[in-house]
């Protein structure tokens, strides 16, 4: 039995708990999520993005749903359906507010008309979607079981009753035609009696001159009433002419006071979690940045990413100048010590590492060509800031406190990201403290990255991988934002990488000067 598109069953849904969102600012995900929350404000998807999963089954459940939604046909159908159902639920809620209002006049036929309209839209949305079900050959468990649920709902007596009653009333309403006559402060209403109109044969006289399609409407007026109260009064006069029809409408409103099916409503809201993500990454993919569905790693498994990147930066820069990077931790490796010049992309790399883990645990696709991510219990971050370099002496103390807190809460299932810590003290102090920190992290056996300006921290240990941000050797001022696996010294490797991109001096000379000379 279908319960939720976010969880395989009610038990997993009920046991899900909010994650600490503290790390999101350091990971740079706040801005990305804020965009999502704004664009999906009506759906209130926030809680979904703040609840990471810890069991692989639930993650796989979501990955499969998201993969299904990458199919444009599936996505289009589901997007439309969700928006329609959700809108009708909102409309119904507002109608109910009106009908229950203390201002008695709000309980009127215009409000009831809105309830009828919402019900009709609801039926049409469900009918339209169920017509497509044959085409929607969902692969995921989540969407398949939703489809089965909906197919059964469409066949239910409750739904059939709603649809036929609404149709009967609308048929009656469409027959209504009334005349109005305004004089002074009085409006009179009676049944329309076949009086001719003035537009007759105007077209016949002048149409022959028309070239092409020609504009037909110069002035389109809103068909919404100017004053609701007066429209309500007019409608009461009309109801007095068509008594039976309007009392049928009264009955309809009592009977279908809450016509929206709860699981369908829940689906419409929850599916937006996936749609929002796909909408967000669609432009990034167009810029050529890849996304993939990560494998899920546990304690001793390998963790890796190919062509990963910082999704927040890519979003902000619209994909411009985004450099992708790889990493790999093969057991027993579990910590990266990242050194290299400032502004070389180290923070970005570290963020990307954390982001990929966080997104993977939401069951979403992650930046990169392929990836394997560790299902963590928590992500712990400590990002020092560059401007804190000469900060007050209290800095070292607070660094150490934060580190203590991390050591107290981290487990071997945690992801720990530490960025430029101990920068406020002397080098010898920093090396001493840093080495202790590294020892601690090795013992903790957690996954993560330590970013440091101290080459000494890239100690030789089976648990440690040393990586470095690169500069262009011919132009040391120029950053490449490439992060590679290498001990923290020398530049020969950098030249090799640069040559693979055709960016050495010889190559550039040949291509630019030589090319011109050939002309």
């Amino acid at each position: 039995m279908f319960y939720s598109i976010l969880y395989p069953n009610k038990e997993t849904a009920d046991s899900a708990v909010y994650t600490s969102t503290e790390c999101l600012t350091d990971l740079g995900l706040t801005s990305v999520f804020d965009y999502i929350f704004k664009s999906k404000i009506a759906y209130q998807v926030e809680p979904f993005y703040f609840t990471t999963l810890t069991d692989p089954g639930s993650v796989k459940y979501r990955q499969a749903v998201l993969q299904d939604l990458e199919n444009p046909v599936f996505n289009g159908a589901v997007t439309g359906f969700s928006a329609l159902i959700y809108a009708q639920d909102a409309a119904l809620k507002s109608v109910r507010n009106e009908l229950e209002s203390n201002e008695r006049w709000r309980n009127n036929y215009l409000t009831k008309g809105q309830l009828l309209q919402a019900a009709e839209n609801y039926c049409a949305a469900i009918d339209g979607f169920s017509q497509q079900l044959d085409k929607l050959d969902f692969k995921s468990e989540g969407l398949s079981s939703f489809r089965d649920y909906l197919a059964a709902y469409v066949k239910s007596d409750a739904f059939a009753g709603l649809i036929s009653h609404a149709k009967r009333i609308r048929a009656g309403l469409s027959e209504v035609e009334y005349s109005m006559y305004i004089k002074d402060w009085t409006i009179r209403v009676r049944k329309y009696d076949g009086e001719p109109d003035y537009s007759n044969d105007i077209e016949g006289l002048f149409d022959k001159f028309r070239i092409g399609d020609g504009e037909k409407t110069f002035r389109k007026l809103s068909e919404d009433p100017v004053d609701i109260k007066i429209e309500t009064k007019v409608l009461e006069l009309v109801a007095g002419i068509y008594k039976e029809l309007f009392s049928d409408l009264d009955n309809f409103c009592v009977k279908y006071y809450g016509f929206v099916d709860e699981p369908l409503y829940r689906f419409s809201r929850e599916i937006q979690f996936y749609l929002a993500w796909l909408e967000l990454i669609a432009p990034l993919r167009e810029y050529g940045l890849p996304f993939c569905y990560p494998e899920l790693a546990v304690a001793q498994d390998d963790v890796f990413s190919r062509e990963g990147f910082d999704v927040a930066l890519a979003y902000k820069r619209r994909g411009d100048g985004i450099v992708t990077n790889d990493f790999e931790l093969t057991s027993p490796e579990h910590m990266i010590v990242l050194t290299g010049p400032n502004q070389g992309g180290k923070t970005t790399f570290t963020r990307a590492f954390g982001q990929m883990h966080y997104l993977a645990a939401l069951g979403l696709s992650v930046p990169g060509r392929s990836a394997s991510m560790f299902l963590f219990d928590k992500i712990l971050t400590h990002f020092g800031r560059e401007e804190d370099l000469n900060a007050q002496s209290g800095q070292l103390k607070s660094d150490l406190r934060r580190l203590k807190a991390i050591f107290d809460t981290a487990t071997d299932k945690s992801v720990v990201l530490i960025n430029e810590i101990f920068s406020s003290t002397t080098i010898s102090d920093a090396v001493l403290l840093g080495k202790k920190m590294i020892d601690g992290l090795i013992r903790l056996n957690c996954h993560g990255i330590v970013v440091t300006f101290l080459d000494e921290l890239a100690v030789s240990d089976p648990a440690i991988v040393s990586m470095m941000s690169l500069v262009n050797p011919d132009e040391p001022g120029k950053r490449t934002f490439k992060i590679v696996r290498k001990p923290p010294d020398g530049l020969a490797y950098a030249i090799y990488i640069a040559s693979r991109h055709g960016l050495t001096y010889d190559q550039l000379h040949e291509r630019l000067i030589g090319g011109e000379a050939a002309v």
Partner: protein, 492 residues
């Protein structure tokens, strides 16, 4: 209702430019000055003629159709100009303010649409009168049909019916009776303004009613006037659409007449400079026979600054014209006189000269040296190649391409080689080529090629240039020295 003055079987697609490289042609052939003379200050004429120039005809019968109408117009210019002025008066007296339609209240939309309609109807009546009075003297199929159309569709019975209807509408609209249906949420929609009679008025006395309470008169006022506005809106829209229909007819008639008025204006302007015009004879596309007597650069004449030399030209059926000779010797002017005549002839226009017998071309492409371009050499060549590459997908068999000092931006050997390869490829698909060039290596390589016609800027024994182009082989040196001497006042 179509007027079919530009095509026997369809309306002109006004403002649609069928030709690739409009901007290049305008600049290279100096066409704006010609269009300006044609328009004599009337923007409609300008764009009608521009449209005709850039939707060239490739079918001789279609060209003949326009030429016949133009011949009629040249015989009785006063009648054609009278038609045009009726159309202009009817459309401009309204100030063409259809845009205001969308902003006014329904009642003023209603009134102004009625005003539009009666002015338009008066104009139609004037057109019919011209047809009655002067239509007989015309022989072209296009103008004959137009006058027939006026007499058939706008007879006295039609004017009687229209005027009655307009009167009825003038008198309506004082009292507001209207019907409505129920919308999505039961709001009143589809308001329709209704005629009412005595019987109906009696029925209203017993109808249910609602009266605005004393304190709510302000909202009541707003609501009621909005209802009246909506009631009138449909019929007002219908009237406006009718006015728009008539306007579209006038616009079409104006656009199509404008072309012929433009030709008359051009002929007048050239006559004032004592320059003859002629109706060109078009030959079928595949041939390369091309003949002109006393052809001249129309645009240059219109500058009124200089005496313009007219010259004769005969291709002798050859498709490759290599033109060499002194700078400032009239080579560009020569290309322009040919190019202008080509594009004007294929629009159905008169051309500048005494006799013009030109083949139909599938397209006219100019590749002139950009004088203003002073960037570095490689950039210039790049620009030249880019410009030509863009035209490539449009150059088809039967086209004519005019090179004017192309690829002079690189050295002679390379420029020659590029141009030779291009020339060869174009010739293979049957493209006619005019090539003004200083690239000697290029020009001399066709010496033994029988399909080549060598032309040269004439230069007298005295060294004086006549600005005439005559047949002649390329010579190794150009006459830059002459020019230098002339400007610096030195003797060689």
């Amino acid at each position: 209702m179509n007027v079919n003055l530009m095509f026997r079987d369809r309306n002109v697609e006004f403002g649609v430019l069928g030709t690739f490289g409009k901007e290049l042609l305008l600049a290279d052939l100096e066409l704006p000055r010609i269009l300006k003379a044609m328009s004599a200050g009337d923007e409609t004429i300008y764009s009608a003629c521009e449209t005709a120039l850039f939707q060239p005809l490739t079918d001789i019968a279609r060209i003949k159709y326009r030429q016949d109408i133009l011949a009629d117009a040249r015989r009785s210019p006063e009648v054609v100009r009278a038609l045009y002025s009726v159309v202009v008066d009817a459309t401009t007296s309204q100030n063409h303010s259809f845009r205001a339609f969308s902003t006014t209240a329904s009642s003023s939309l209603y009134r102004s649409a009625l005003d539009f309609l009666s002015d338009f109807i008066n104009g139609l009546f004037a057109l019919r009168q011209i047809a009655d009075k002067s239509g007989k003297g015309f022989t072209s199929e296009g103008l004959r049909n137009l006058f027939d159309l006026f007499q058939r569709e706008m007879d006295d019975a039609y004017f009687k019916k229209v005027r009655e209807k307009l009167r009825e509408l003038q008198d309506a609209g004082d009292e507001t009776y209207f019907s409505a249906k129920l919308g999505h949420y039961l709001q009143g929609v589809n308001y329709v303004f209704r005629k009412t009679d005595r019987h109906a008025k009696r029925a209203w006395r017993t109808a249910a009613s609602y009266t605005i309470p004393d304190k709510e008169e302000q909202t009541g006022q707003r609501d009621f006037s909005s209802r009246s506005d909506r009631a009138l809106n449909e019929v007002a829209n219908t009237l406006a659409a009718a006015a728009k229909s008539l306007d579209s007819f006038y616009t079409l008639l104006r656009n199509e007449l404008a072309f012929y008025i433009g030709c008359l204006n051009l002929e007048d302007a050239l006559a004032a400079e004592n320059k003859p015009v002629c109706m060109p004879e078009l030959l079928p596309m595949p041939g390369f026979e091309r003949y002109g007597r006393q052809l001249y650069d129309v645009s240059l004449v219109l500058t009124k600054k200089t005496t313009v030399v007219a010259g004769d030209f005969d291709s002798h059926g050859r498709p490759l014209m290599i033109i060499t000779g002194a700078n400032q010797g009239g080579k560009s002017t020569f290309l322009r006189s040919i190019g202008q005549a080509q594009i004007m002839a294929q629009a159905g226009m008169i051309v500048g000269g005494e006799v013009c017998r030109f083949p139909i071309r599938s397209g006219l492409f100019t590749h002139f040296k950009r004088e203003e371009d002073s960037r570095m050499k490689s950039g210039k060549l790049d620009e030249e190649l880019t410009r030509l590459a863009r035209a490539l997908e449009f150059i088809k068999p039967g086209a004519v391409v005019m090179f004017n000092e192309s690829f002079a931006s690189t050295n002679e050997r390379e420029g020659s080689e590029i141009l030779r390869q291009i020339t060869r490829a174009f010739r293979e698909i049957g493209v006619e080529i005019f090539s003004v060039t200083h690239l000697y290596a290029y020009s001399e390589s066709y010496m033994s090629n029988p399909e080549t016609l060598y032309l040269r800027a004439q230069r007298l024994e005295s060294g004086e240039r006549t600005f005439l182009i005559e047949e002649g082989l390329p010579q190794v040196t150009a006459y830059g020295e002459d020019l230098y001497n002339e400007i610096f006042g030195e003797k060689a």
